[in-house]
Amino acid sequence: MEKFSYKIINLQDLLTQVKELREKKYRLVSISCTQVEEKFELLYTFDLNLSLKHLKIIVAKDTPIPSLTCIYEGAFLLENEIQDQFGLSFAKLNIDYKGQLFYPEKNPLFLKNNK
């Protein structure tokens, strides 16, 4: 099995780097969000012929994250789930459930120290 490693990139480079992967025919596998103290780590995972590539960004709670839906249309579910669970917001989402993909009311269940 493949060894896990990732590359940390700046938020402003995200769309450029993802566009390059899309041009190389990578498939978007997942976006995994973790809260580390007051910051949030988003791990973007891509696959090409069963080989994975990971990009990581670190953001503050109030920082809008550019949506990947302009590059990968299907990213809307992954991003909406993160909005639901952590209360983060994605800019220019093609379908925005506004934090209510799974819950009838805004309730970021995975947010630690949620006050």
Binding site: M1, F4, Q35, L77
Partner: protein, 358 residues
């Protein structure tokens, strides 16, 4: 013709689980399909903060009943990789055998439901009758018919005796014969072809772009199967991904049907090569750092992300299930088809909402 928005689901005769689609329809043709969720959400991933790494096996088994064993396999192999645990060879083979049995019972369940979706009741019962034999094997060898709880960190907790292995081989022969009996009906019946051929077409390029996985991806001609990553004992078994080219509902049925024979072959290979020896090793300590792991479930690639801090609880467990990945592709398949074909096309991806909502 004015546009009409039709709510499809969450309760619908063709859906085994609650899923909603807002279908924008013009002159009986679907123009747009927007999925809606939130009927069975449980937040199981959050439990990793209060259930230790061993107890979490029972939690991930309950993400989805139909692929419980394979969720646990992915979780255990991911944690074992982080901790550098070497699982005994016999345990790897046993994991493989139960995984393929699981794939078979899931595909048979789906083939029955799919037949039911276009009104072929006798075919539905036929597939479910065959499936009972797999469930009997699960019950006899693992103690449960559906939630097959055999994985532990470091190996498995049950073994297969020589008598069990002989009995499984005899049952597989009978299952194979029963599957051959329905082959002509499945592939030559006029009604099945009429209801499934050319319905919900997804090209290979669209499938990759929208992130499709599993039989949905392979039915569009992409030969990708996570078992090629050689987890469990797959590195020692010969197989090629089953593919079809048409990318329609018929092709997705075709892939799953032939994967049943592939699973029978893999179980036979595994039983012929299974080594003697221990079935588990003791795991000491706790994982630290990050890892990802993925395996092939009946519905496709499941992806696990782990973040650990060296304590008995994980910091974060994230599970991206195959249906979650296939929903954007489904929304694309529904666009441009007739309203009457919507139930069959939705069923064709084998949706698991329990997995999707976790």
């Amino acid at each position: 013709m004015p546009k009409t928005i039709i709510p499809f689901g969450p309760q619908h005769p063709v859906l085994p689980e609650p899923l909603h689609f807002s279908l924008t329809v013009e002159d009986e043709i679907v123009q747009e399909a927007i999925p809606g969720f939130g009927y069975v959400h449980r937040g199981l991933e959050k439990l990793c903060e209060i259930k230790d790494i061993h107890k979490m096996i029972q939690v991930v088994e309950r993400v989805c009943g139909i692929c419980s064993k394979i969720h646990a396999l992915c979780y255990c192999e991911g944690i074992e990789q982080m901790m550098g645990v070497e699982v005994p060879p016999r345990a790897k083979y046993l994991r493989t055998i139960w995984s393929e049995l699981h794939r078979m019972h899931s595909h048979l369940l789906w083939l029955g439901l799919f037949a039911d979706s276009f009104g072929f009741e006798s075919l539905f019962y036929h597939f479910w009758r065959i499936r009972e034999k797999i469930l009997d094997i699960n019950e006899k060898t693992a103690g449960n018919r559906i939630i097959v709880s055999v994985n532990i960190l470091g190996g498995v907790k049950r073994d297969l005796s020589t008598e069990d292995q002989k009995w499984i081989l005899a049952e597989l022969k009978e299952i194979e014969n029963k599957l051959e009996e329905v082959k002509d009906t499945l592939f030559k019946d006029y009604t099945i072809s009429k209801r499934t051929k050319g319905k919900g077409i997804l090209s290979a390029e669209e499938a990759l772009y929208l992130g499709a996985v599993g039989p949905v991806l392979r039915a569009s001609g992409v030969a990708q199967d996570c078992r090629q990553l050689q987890y469990a004992a797959f590195s020692e078994l010969d197989f090629e991904p089953v593919i079809a080219q048409e990318g329609d509902s018929f092709a997705r049925m075709q892939v799953r049907y032939f994967e049943l024979f592939q699973s029978i072959d893999l179980i036979r290979q595994a039983l012929s090569k299974i080594p003697e020896g221990p079935i588990s090793v003791k795991v000491k300590g706790y994982p630290e750092g990050e890892n990802v792991f993925r395996v092939e479930q009946p519905r496709g690639e499941v992806f696990y992300y782990f973040k650990a801090n060296g304590s008995k609880f994980l910091d974060r467990l994230r599970i991206r299930t195959p249906t979650f990945a296939n929903v954007p592709a489904l929304a694309k398949m529904l666009t441009g088809i007739e309203l009457a074909d919507v139930p069959v096309v939705i069923l064709s991806i084998d949706p698991c909402i329990s997995c999707t909502e976790r």
